[in-house]
Symmetry: C2
Subunit: 360 residues, 2 copies
């Protein structure tokens, strides 16, 4: 089996401001025990895929950040999206690019900005997914919910596929981010897993599923493959722009005939906020979490349950405070209570409204 | 009358850490509506004393900071203490230096790191003091207490000297920092003023009072004057080191025969902590105080009653927090509740104990 991995690094987002910026979204932050999330994502694939089988799909701006911040990554494995058109065209572009050089490829598709540990277990889970993908299934990975989260999509599981480990189920239905009551129902019912956003499929399966789910998408995917195979970059970009602006979940997965969900046996977090990243790391005895990079330090006295994110040669001193998030980077400092960290978007909107786009 | 001013800039202190450091004590912080406290102290004298009649007494380390941070100040008006020996030798050194060039001088002596406003009223008050000093009195300035402060010395006032304004009283007694109960008693009694640490006297009066209060001090002062008059720098330094290590309050003022206290008609604050400096400045409608210098900015959303001190090209964003002090300077950030700001010394001790002397 020829296994490729596609890392989707298009995300932006405001929930890590002022650490994350337009030009430096979350995946470029050192949130993975000191490593950049995207570097950890690349490292996690070592031993699973050949280095030249690892691809990153991203936009032009982030491609520059990538070249600068992950200088070891092969430039010819960076696939630049001509424009943002949601995930379905993005997957079609990656598929065409890989199929052009390796028509029999099996593809892992995964986000750049999640925390997944441990690596060995991740690879075992992915290998299991690749075996199932070889049977023609579109394979997803589901995380057993620990709380009625309303920020994740859910996968409703059906019958077990076989008796091998990690366990795999026929995916019965995809459920978009539910309201609280529905999420609680999912949790009580027990047959629902969080959609991790990680997929495995063969080039053939995904191309078939695109045609099946959305004819316009399938046709655009065909044009992309033709252009990629002919080495026609301009044509490939044109073909990309003809693809419908839709998500792979909606246009492909929810309509696919055979979707299998492997139950994730890893610790997984999509790292949606500072409190989330802290829950992955380790705290001192007073419950203070420090996420430090580039020579940063933390000093805490009579301080409890705080989260500090700092970069560069600076020390963050906490004295007598509790339950705060403190972020200190080059040109900005943020102080907010942890229970408001999920609302950071409001502050970012305020920053924009006050004309400080330079900080975004 | 030939009026000179001596600015005593020897203080260090930890209550403004991490803004203040060993090499950059409080007087070099931009706490005077954007100006350095020492610059504001110099500016406050304009029109009252000739520029070449303004002197700064400081230690060798701060003399360097002074030359760098207040480049406009005349180098030949900086008097460097050979070593720290409390305020009495310091006053003797300043007196000798001034008497050597202007034997008939009247001297104002004042700290470098207080906030005093408005300037015109300050000058009116000092002129009144200088007139009283011309009669041979040692003149002090007392601030009407607004609370039973235990951090200030008090002056017990006796009879009014005359009917002129601002009011002046014979100083009956100096009372060192009292305990709470005593301070409350002072406040109830009404005849007590805070000792502002500002003095006016003639060269003759202070020299006589030094001899009267402490013979060893008087003798050392004589040796300093002889050396200064002869232009013998090394001898002056040697003479300084022979002076007893004592304060001008204890060795001179408390024992002097004629001390007069002018009631200060200015807004005065010795700026003992971040909350104190904020009380001098102005807040936004939500009660947030911003002390910003060197291009720093503040953004506050759903934040109340915070104090931000920031220097350099950085923005401090407060979101949903209340009652905090946030300090952001080059290599350090501090977050602490306002009601712990007076205990910052504990944190500074902790910083020292953890081996981070580089931050002090």
């Amino acid at each position: 089996m020829s296994l490729h991995a596609v890392i989707m690094a298009g995300g932006s987002g405001t929930r890590f401001w002022p650490a994350s910026r337009k030009k430096r979204p979350k995946q470029f932050l050192p949130l993975a025990r000191g490593r950049l999330l995207i570097q950890a994502t690349i490292d996690r694939l070592a031993g699973l895929c050949e280095p030249d089988h690892v691809w990153i799909v991203t936009n032009a701006q982030q491609a520059k950040a990538l070249a600068k911040l992950v200088p070891g990554f092969r430039k010819d494995r960076i696939v630049v999206e001509p424009e943002a058109r949601d995930t379905a065209p993005c997957v079609a572009l990656a598929t065409a690019t890989i199929a052009a050089v390796d028509p029999g490829a099996t593809m892992i598709v995964m986000p750049a900005d999640h925390v997944i540990e441990p690596e060995a277990e991740f690879q075992r889970m992915l290998r299991r997914g690749a075996e199932l993908a070889a049977t023609g299934a579109l394979v997803t990975f589901g995380v057993r919910p620990t709380q009625p989260a309303t920020g994740y999509g859910y996968i409703e599981c059906g019958d077990a596929v076989d008796r091998a480990e990690p366990r795999a189920f026929a995916a019965r239905r995809f459920r978009e981010k539910p309201d609280r009551a529905t999420a609680e129902q999912f949790l009580r019912h027990g047959g629902f897993l969080w959609n991790s956003g990680i997929f495995v499929w063969t080039v053939d399966s995904i191309r078939r599923a695109m045609h099946h789910g959305n004819a316009a998408l399938g046709a655009a995917a065909d044009r992309m493959l033709a252009a990629a195979s002919a080495g026609q970059t301009a044509a490939l970009r044109r073909a990309f722009r003809t693809a419908p602006k839709t998500s792979v979940d909606y246009a492909v997965m929810e309509r696919a005939e055979r979707v299998v969900t492997v139950e994730a046996t890893v610790r997984w977090d999509d790292v949606g906020s500072f409190p989330a990243i802290a829950s992955v790391g380790t705290a001192d005895t007073a419950g203070n979490h420090a996420l430090l990079a580039g020579g940063a330090a933390q000093i805490a006295l009579q301080a409890r349950d705080n989260i500090v994110y700092a970069e560069g040669k600076r020390t963050v001193a906490l004295f007598g405070v509790e339950g705060l998030v403190v972020v200190a980077v080059g040109d900005a400092v943020l102080v907010c209570p942890q229970n408001r960290a999920a609302d950071l978007k409001e502050l970012v909107e305020h920053v924009r409204a006050t004309g400080r786009d330079d900080l975004l």
